[in-house]
Symmetry: C2
Subunit: 553 residues, 2 copies
Amino acid sequence: MTISTLQKARYSYNPKLPGMLRNGIAEICVKNGAPTESVADQEKIKALFPNTYGKNEITFQKGANTSTAKKQVVGVILSGGQAPGGHNVVCGLYDALKATDKDNVLLGFKGGPSGLIEDDYIEMTDEFIDQYRNTGGFDIIGSGRTKLETVPQFEIVTEVAKKHGLTAIVIIGGDDSNTNAAVLAEYMAAHNTGVQVIGCPKTIDGDLKNEDIETSFGFDTATKTYSEVIGNIERDANSAKKYWHFIKLMGRSASHVTLECALQTQPNICLVGEEVAAKKQSLSEIADQIADSVAVRGNRGDNFGVALIPEGIVEFVPEFSKLIAEINELLAGEKTEQFNALPSWDDKYAFIEKGLTAESMAVFSILPVGIQQQLFLERDPHGNVQVSLIESEKLFAELVKNKLAERAAAGTYTGKFSTLTHFFGYEGRCAFPSNFDSDYCYSLGYNAFMLIQYGFTGYLSKVSNLSAPAEEWVAGGMPITKMMNIERRNGEDKPVIRKALVELDGAPFKYFAEHRAKWADETCFLYPGAIQYYGPAEVCDATTKTLALEQAK
Amino acid sequence: MTISTLQKARYSYNPKLPGMLRNGIAEICVKNGAPTESVADQEKIKALFPNTYGKNEITFQKGANTSTAKKQVVGVILSGGQAPGGHNVVCGLYDALKATDKDNVLLGFKGGPSGLIEDDYIEMTDEFIDQYRNTGGFDIIGSGRTKLETVPQFEIVTEVAKKHGLTAIVIIGGDDSNTNAAVLAEYMAAHNTGVQVIGCPKTIDGDLKNEDIETSFGFDTATKTYSEVIGNIERDANSAKKYWHFIKLMGRSASHVTLECALQTQPNICLVGEEVAAKKQSLSEIADQIADSVAVRGNRGDNFGVALIPEGIVEFVPEFSKLIAEINELLAGEKTEQFNALPSWDDKYAFIEKGLTAESMAVFSILPVGIQQQLFLERDPHGNVQVSLIESEKLFAELVKNKLAERAAAGTYTGKFSTLTHFFGYEGRCAFPSNFDSDYCYSLGYNAFMLIQYGFTGYLSKVSNLSAPAEEWVAGGMPITKMMNIERRNGEDKPVIRKALVELDGAPFKYFAEHRAKWADETCFLYPGAIQYYGPAEVCDATTKTLALEQAK
């Protein structure tokens, strides 16, 4: 067997387009909206994007297609981490391109932006594309993390574009990749290359979100996949009644993924990094908050529970960020060698004790020894602490255990506390896209081609009104510059799309905040089960709770 | 919201019974088969079970119901670890019981066998049962690991049975629980209590399997859940092309779960404990075998892959078992205290070096320090090494890394090797049961009641021909004693159901062995995706590859 039965079945799923794109290529025309300006720093952004700034928002509608007939040769790349539905963006793009003119060409550049620089590509055909319809993964052409942002790179891309006669490049990626798409679009326009650039909003992290991007693709499928296994673990906890499960979830730095999973599964505890930062919480305070739930439950005999922990949590804890900064300083340059030469951990510990401030040492000293050692021994090529490797699920399990020991000694806790830890991330990035992501991604790709065909550049493929049925979705385009502001990055002022953190006054967090006391005390677990692609619409076609709450009338 | 949309939708699923049970209670009669004898040690087993040994196998068929009309009061318990479908066994039992006579009573004893001893129970009603139809978990009445095996326990159970007027007890559990069901049945018969005992074969591990039990329930759903996430990770590996994922899977000690997942996902590497034992492989040999695949792939630029590792693997490695035995000996009794008093790990290491044989020290010295420390520091209440906690996924990742460093130095390996590790177990035990497990479990429960109604005791509820459509399944009963032999357990000869290990000359392993060289070298990943409950039959209704291969004509 070379493919699974589900993969075979999914090939014949017909993704739903927004109603306005359903009448055939000949019946799609442009409706102009208002001119745009960037969300902040208008003068600076305008100066950086003289050729692409301030264009109109547009939507598509039913009407005679007035685009210019010309042969299109489009290049597409996938950029950054995998997200379910990437294949469908390519499929939608391909179908619109071929429906417009069967002589149009789609080139897939391999391994991310580097494929465009190294001119490593494949020409898409029906037979090839058909193997990837409605499937997960980025294996169709691979992905990569090379950043496309320097003028020398742009010069090479221009050469490659010229060689193939490219009329447009579609960049499927996250906030950085879309920022770079805007910069490349400006470069191409300024140099009269005739190459348009269109971006598509991808990331499971959910942090590419603003008034124009209701959700990035992949977030729906990834959070449903995590929620499936979280729900299964909750049910196990509620059956065995003897473990607390500490579950870390991917999605740095924002806590969107974890919050969405909490809305889907109603665990006892869900940490939200943005709240921790706003309240300037310490590790000890967070541990106490979890211990409160464990104690209330344990004192009545419910010695089980589930706690969700966002991957980026420790970066939001002020005292921990300070500790990390001090460690990086303590081991800067040749001091690493000096440290590594110390013969035993005891010697190293003495060195650390001498080097850290009393405040940071107080934080360091409560960490489990495994995490203490990791902070000093496993460092990235620049000698910095690898925050993403910190096993915060084990950290909090340990801190809570210590808190409970104190409470037991004080007579306020009489339960038992056994923990199991998990980390979910890679399980969700390449799942078969949900019907929502299949439809949304296909629409983004289809729509991206319509933007190309109508001559737009520096635009993001925009599909909105996403909590409604696909029929009512609104397809169009938004100048990427509209989403930009100036931020300090690596010591330079840069025009970038702002990363969206969880808003503490947003509807999803507020819903959570209203219910969490009950969830912490009682057992309100929800078991979402596996993503369903067939069956009742209420099971198969709903998107995230985040979007439903944000768009609730 | 109090339940998920899938849970609500699953309530209305109508589990499929074997054809012979579909004509209504009035049309089910018994067809006697041959008398049975135990698979081995016939004289000894017969002597231990004078009242229940040697009975006939029976099947049900369409015909006038000739069972005696009497009010049935049945007790049911769930025993041991969770397995998807347990709720449906209870539902099937309840439905058959109530269809026979609405005055019949089903009592669910809570928290496993201890519920029966402590007389902690709930009387089942339609309203109560309907909340659990086709759902995962054992939360309907909970489960527990108390063993029901001593005469004092049986005396208490007899009292509880008398109090409630119990006519039968159904024990849903694994090999040990079914063994104990047979012993209890014999006790009840010998003491003329009038209480029948019926067993149902549960375990995700797949090791409760023999010529009469084609598969234990839960194995199908659990392996599909693990295969979903393994397939997603494979697709991620094949997209990012930069990680080797080492994935440990639950299911001690046998490797059925891991082998089934390998058949479903075609990873590069799958270790099978039974083969390791048969070939008397060393850790180093296993690491070399994995390194061979990494090197072949890495040398052509494919620096990614997936390796599946059964939880029980290290117990099958002779040199490792020897090491564990020596460690247990080294720390026996008061020696633990002496060891713990040593101030540093260096001191402890010196103690270990002095205490182990040279052979075991050679094994110990190649282990990652984290695992070395775990072996000595995290011990069970009896002071023994906790084999199940050994992070063998990290162990092999580390050993392979060392092998590759040697090869790189020798110039035979030019790739890069970065690893990520995972452990899946709790994710699969409480998933919504697949259609197969929903049907199979409901049939087991329904059938269990028919065995009760016809007066059988010491029987296992048996449903077979499971790779065919449910219509063609064969329902009946088999004396549990038939599956027994005598084994040495804790220094005593005991009658037990033999645990089924993976058979190296069985069809599933042979299929794997024929294909693994290709899977190791090439990328043949299969992506099964999430369990589907609706949709095309070939996606939703097929059971495991293991069963399909075992029953292939």
